[in-house]
Symmetry: C2
Subunit: 499 residues, 2 copies
């Protein structure tokens, strides 16, 4: 699975004259930190998707917006591809470097510029860590809601690029729902302000368009996020089921009853046992599935909702429903869930974490189909996921040292994502497309839809210099992959093929 | 203010061969309703912004998506501009027809296709009225949150085109926050699905880009909206103040305390007296300003919040705080607010309703400046607005029969919108830009930002056939208007001037 170079970019991107680039950087940006020796580049060869590795041409570590602006102008002039990167925790290879491109590392932009209680927002630089925003807002009893598992390390600029999610997105939305404004630089180094401090903004909604665009439309230089008041109390219910279908159906019943939990998570038996062995969270190890349902808000409201959810769970066939009796037990219940990935990692030399989304009503059927696929490919699959919003994270267990297992795992992963699409879902919930899922985009979208994406890309970056080879596949790639929806017997807009 | 033709479109749009167009429609769509006689066209010459009127070339009333598809293909082939329209209740002239274009009326697409409680969504045709969705969902105890004042008449397709708001948007968001998916047809009649039934969707966020694009990127043919559970109870507090500044400051304090009211509305003395004379809502007619604060949710929660808000209002200097004692009084409090526009209309032969948004913290200062401008232009201004989200609706009172008053009213309106921009706000909150505020867009955005809009437009509609002359001004227009931010001494991208 080590991809050293994306063959689809061959002949598309120009070869870069490294000496010319280095000398331009030296003349125009004498105080810029530039890494070019192979031992210095090594730590940057991958992001959180470590199966894919490429050594970048150069790593640039600017500290001021003007430096970023000059870098973009130089790269634009010399036609050098640019991959921007925050903390590098992304799981889909969105920040995977290019052999023939610079890696623009934004981690030195780590200042919190303003916390405003009345406007209820925080204005920060893109390299600020997700959790650092909530920590800075805590004295005002406010916090930033989206909470990816990597929140201790991941940066807000990367969150914007990937439209990051988290356990609490069911109630509080994805990154895009929690932004007011971003400042970006275009591929030519022009500064644009997208969104506004106020709720609505006229013109096209470029803020939403930019969020989740995976570094293909510009580089984030400042982010203004909404802050929310901290909920007074949070309670967690744990429910055990003797079948995953029943647990899946219970999720739908809770939502249909008009309750919006702060978090609603599901684990199947393999995941339960792995987590219990590792964390001793107190999970029922014989259950086929458990649900963790967190209810947050004001005391009395949470109390009422707990009673209603308990009733729904029992009616849905739960064999046991437990309310965490104190804060320590609540934290323990969550610790099992949050450490489920490393816990499953202890069961198998390798695992492959998927990220797909399905409509909630499809949960029971899809869980069944995944079990069937698991038997067909003779690979174990653990299911741990954000059940409330239908965002699944099946973990495929394999041993890369056994011949053929890696390939089988990849094929099984592809089948699971296609299953998600076939029930009206999507190939990513919160990890993004990046390099990893670019082929599955061909199953997700038809030629007209991909063409609309290409036209948007061309509107911002006609030469295709920003993060090429990620997020949006070429129609050519889709035709090769064999999943292209060909319309009227022909590929539309062949002139857009250069992306 | 009667604009019969937009001189900025002269020489930009081709002349249409009406006979050729009629014959193409007749051959390819023999059963399509086509209106072409002047008396049939008259009812369509304006939308809710009735000061602007233009007779369309033809009015087309399709009933099936295939017909819309054929219309778009024919118009694309013959290079005929197309203005799509729903119920025509918009207040910024977004559906103002073109003398040399067809008006595509979508009101016959009025079927509710699906109400799904578990998925908590409704799938409807674009001509379905906003309120009809909530009515259809009521038996399931669900509703659609965005509630423009025109909700009894306005259509969901128009809501998508304008990103409509309403009294409850502070808590529940604008249209864009309440959509899951839309089906559109491109200018070439290609069908695209934007968004997904699930929370996240990979690729660029074209759903958000399309929402609020005012008919410039495509035509909506189907909409899937989110439904919310109906709140158990709603209570309204009325607070009186002896200055508008104090009322404005109280709004900020409520929000900063972490309370999110269902609605938070403000009226000044002129509006209070007008509404009281008209509706007898029980408002204190001597107050300089009142706030109406609705709190909704579960019983106990609402009870606690009412107590907290009352305390904040008193600390902010309220001279009186009243809780509506029963449902009848609650409805009466709201009736005064909801009829404030016609009530103010009784004070003056004409009035001009503005729509600007400002950051909440700027409320007291902006209200003061509006009072100063009112004195400078010798025109009364009544203030009635969604205070909680900073969305202002100043009503400028004038008499069009007195020479010069109309012009003074327009100038004053322009100054108020520029004031909104200068404090970091925007020229529209929920009414859109349309034809009305196209010049103010030049003050809102700089040349680079407008260029990004033009590039987006070109990506979807390179010939500029969809609703030309609305929403996004040409750089040429801005240069004439004198508000263009010229960068490096030149207008960028002159080749994009054709929009």
């Amino acid at each position: 699975m080590n991809i050293l170079y994306d063959e689809h970019l061959d002949g598309v991107l120009p070869r870069v004259d490294k000496r010319q680039l280095l000398s331009a950087l030296e003349v125009e940006l004498p105080d810029l930190t530039v890494l070019s020796r192979s031992e210095d580049l090594r730590p940057y060869e991958c992001d959180g998707l470590s199966a894919y590795r490429t050594m970048p041409l150069l790593v640039l570590l600017p500290e001021r917006v003007e430096q970023v602006q000059s870098i973009l102008r130089i790269c634009h002039r010399l036609q050098v591809p640019v991959v921007a990167r925050g903390s590098g925790t992304g799981l889909s290879g969105g920040a995977l470097p290019l052999e023939q491109g610079v890696l623009l590392v934004m981690s030195r932009f780590n200042r919190i510029l303003e916390i405003n209680a009345q406007g209820r927002y925080a204005r920060v630089q893109p390299g600020v860590r997700n959790l650092a925003i909530s920590q800075a807002a805590a004295p005002l009893n406010l916090y930033y809601a989206p909470d990816p598992s990597s929140q201790i390390a991941c940066s807000i600029g990367g969150n914007v690029a990937e439209n990051a999610g988290g356990v609490h997105c069911l109630k509080y939305g994805l990154t895009v729902h929690n932004l007011l404004q971003v400042e970006i630089l275009t591929v030519e180094g022009e500064k644009l302000t997208l969104g506004a401090e106020s709720l609505d903004c006229p013109g096209f909604d470029l803020l939403a368009l930019f969020t989740g665009s995976e570094g293909m439309l510009g580089v984030v230089t400042e982010v203004t996020v909404k802050l929310l008041p901290k909920p007074q109390v949070a309670k967690v219910l744990l429910a055990a089921f003797d079948s995953v279908e029943k647990a899946g159906a219970a999720v739908g019943s809770i939502i249909a009853a008009g309750i919006i939990p702060g978090g609603l998570e599901m684990m199947d038996n393999l995941a339960i046992r792995a987590a219990e062995d590792f964390i001793h969270a107190g999970y029922p190890v014989d259950a086929a599935a458990i649900l963790l349902c967190e209810l947050d808000g004001v005391e009395s409201d949470v109390h009422d909702d707990c009673a209603r959810v308990r009733q729904i769970l029992i009616e849905a066939g739960a064999t046991e429903v437990r309310l965490a009796q104190d804060e320590a037990e609540r934290v323990r219940f969550w610790a099992g869930r949050k450490n489920a990935f490393p816990a499953v990692g202890r069961l198998s030399p390798d695992y492959y974490c998927m990220d797909g989304t399905i409509p909630r009503r499809a949960l029971p059927g899809v869980l069944n189909s995944i079990a069937e696929l698991s038997r067909e490919y003779e690979l174990r699959v653990a299911n741990v996921f954000h059940a409330g919003d239908g965002n699944m994270h099946p973990l495929i267990l394999f041993d890369a040292n056994r011949p053929g297992e890696l390939e089988r795992a990849e094929q099984l992963g592809g089948r699971i994502l296609e299953l998600c699409v076939s029930v009206g879902g999507s190939i990513t919930g919160e990890h993004g497309v990046g390099r990893e899922k670019i082929n599955q985009m061909c199953a997700q979208f038809n030629a007209e839809e991909l063409t609309a994406f290409h036209a948007i890309k061309a509107a911002f970056d006609p030469a295709g210099l920003l993060n090429p080879g990620k997020n949006i596949p070429t129609l050519h790639r889709c035709a090769e992959f064999g999943a292209m929806h060909v319309h009227h017997g022909q590929l539309p807009f062949p002139e857009l093929e250069r992306f």
